[in-house]
């Protein structure tokens, strides 16, 4: 596949690794923000290749992991209502709510359906006019234009039976929170390439200026991530702190204007709770009042629930890169993908799930 497979080229990967190892005169701590990037790193063992020179710390860029428990509980409550179809992206199905998850709700008779695209949720609404079709609209900025267009279409077509339960999060406020923390060890960031495809990277310039950390916008394939790391290490060795773009084939500084315009039409910035982290001001999106008729969050009595995570789950520390999944006492024992204690073990992009799937109990190295 063009623009994909060539960024997995072994020769280029090894030459980038060699260059990083040659340039790094001391060990550096870097964070990749997006769960998709974490997944690639774990799946291909990129951290193994950089051992001793670069430590990769995993960030909170997994929208599934940071969706508040209350949102899952609301989705389940709505799903169990008669004549209701709850439509969701596949990865949300096994995320634990406070008592159960959507997968179990389905086993209990709820009409829960998985779609690849939110436009398919609209198709379900058109085909089932007598049912309330509720779409669990989560994601980072990458997914906001898709969810926004869906809301826009629903309003335009007058699909009165279609609703969105929105839980959108924005990346820069989370990075700012991490940088402000006294426990932060991260010296450079790989910014999420698809988020930046949509919103550009101007927002990161303020962060580099305020905190003097280099930020490089990176893609998702091994070559992309390693090239971004090379750019970060080069800056760090030079004492520089600026924003650079590695993912030039998809990202421009201004980002995607039509997408941003649609987001602006449909959503407004709001305070948002991040599962495992807590409330971050102005870090989320909600539907504008003009779209109230399609806002599932306003659908009758879903009482505000006070939810407590299982005490054992340390997702807060994992999502902020303070602990590795393998440092959690419950990892792989009481917390597994089948019986997760927290969201990062369930989402395919969650750090805990990535470690479990590709590593289990530690780094595996083979010397034949």
């Amino acid at each position: 596949m063009k623009y994909l497979d060539e960024y997995r080229d072994e020769r280029i990967v090894h030459s980038l690794v060699a260059r990083i190892r040659a340039i790094a005169k001391r060990p550096w701590v870097l964070m990749e923000i997006c769960g998709g990037q974490t997944h690639t790193i774990m799946r291909y063992g990129l951290d193994e290749l950089l051992a001793g020179k670069v430590e990769l710390v995993h960030g909170p860029g997994c929208p599934v992991c940071v969706t508040p428990v209350e949102t899952i509980d609301k989705a389940i409550e709505l799903a169990l209502r008669p004549d209701t179809v709850l439509v969701s992206y596949g990865d949300m199905l096994r995320v634990p709510g406070s008592h159960t998850d959507l997968f179990h709700a389905k086993a209990n008779g709820a009409d829960v359906r998985v779609v690849y695209s939110p436009m398919d949720a609209l198709k379900i609404a058109r085909a089932n006019p007598e049912k309330s079709v509720i779409f669990l609209a989560i994601g980072f900025e990458t997914t906001a234009p898709a969810n926004a267009m869906t809301a826009w279409q629903a309003k335009r077509e007058g699909l009165t039976n279609f609703f969105l339960l929105v839980s959108h999060v924005l990346v820069p406020p989370a990075i700012q929170l991490l940088l402000r923390s006294r426990e932060n060890r991260v010296q450079g960031f790989i910014a999420p390439g698809h988020v930046c495809t949509v919103v550009g990277y101007r927002q990161y310039e303020q962060l580099t200026a305020d905190f003097r950390v280099p930020i490089v916008v990176g893609g998702f394939e091994p070559v992309d991530i390693l090239e971004a790391i090379l750019m970060l290490v080069t800056q760090l060795e030079e004492g520089a702190a600026k924003v650079e773009n590695q993912y030039v084939r998809s990202v421009s500084q201004a980002g995607n204007m039509p997408a941003q315009e649609m987001m602006e039409r449909v959503f407004e910035v709001s305070d948002q709770k991040w599962r495992g982290i807590g409330m971050i001001p102005q870090s989320g999106l909600r539907l504008r009042p003009e779209f109230a008729a399609h806002d599932a969050g306003r659908l009758s009595s879903i009482a505000a629930m006070c939810v407590e995570e299982p005490a054992e789950c340390i997702s807060a520390q994992v999502l902020q890169g303070l602990k590795k999944p393998t440092e959690c006492p419950a990892f792989g024992k009481r917390c597994t993908p089948e019986k997760p204690l927290g969201a990062p073990m369930v989402s395919p992009e969650g750090a805990c799930a990535a470690y479990f799937t590709y590593r289990r109990h530690g780094v595996v190295t083979f010397h034949d």
Binding site: K2, D91, Y116, S117, G139, P145, Q153, H194, R249, T365
Partner: protein, 91 residues
């Protein structure tokens, strides 16, 4: 969740008033909304996320940067640090 994959636009049409494309991903074809890439046409590659194209792949830029990467292999030998044990032997 931020999974976006490059695909080639084969053709475009209107569906429910939305500009839509038939996009080919390594041999399979799926439709994707093209409203966010008005500059993209059949033959172009786009990055597609949950059925929406979010960028047109800048082919010239991609080609240029890829050449740089490929040529790196040649310089690798020159830069290798004789004191670095290399990956895989530190554990």
């Amino acid at each position: 969740m931020c999974l976006a994959i490059p695909g080639k636009i084969l053709s475009t049409h209107l569906e429910n008033g939305v500009r839509t494309g038939r996009v080919q991903f390594g041999g399979i074809v799926r439709s994707a909304c093209l409203d966010y890439v008005p500059e993209a046409n059949p033959g172009d590659y786009v990055m597609v996320h949950v059925g929406f194209a979010i960028s047109r792949v800048d082919a010239a830029e991609a080609e240029r940067t890829y050449q740089v990467l490929e040529s790196m292999g040649v310089l690798e030998a020159e830069l290798a640090d004789p004191n670095d044990p290399g990956p895989g032997e530190t554990r």
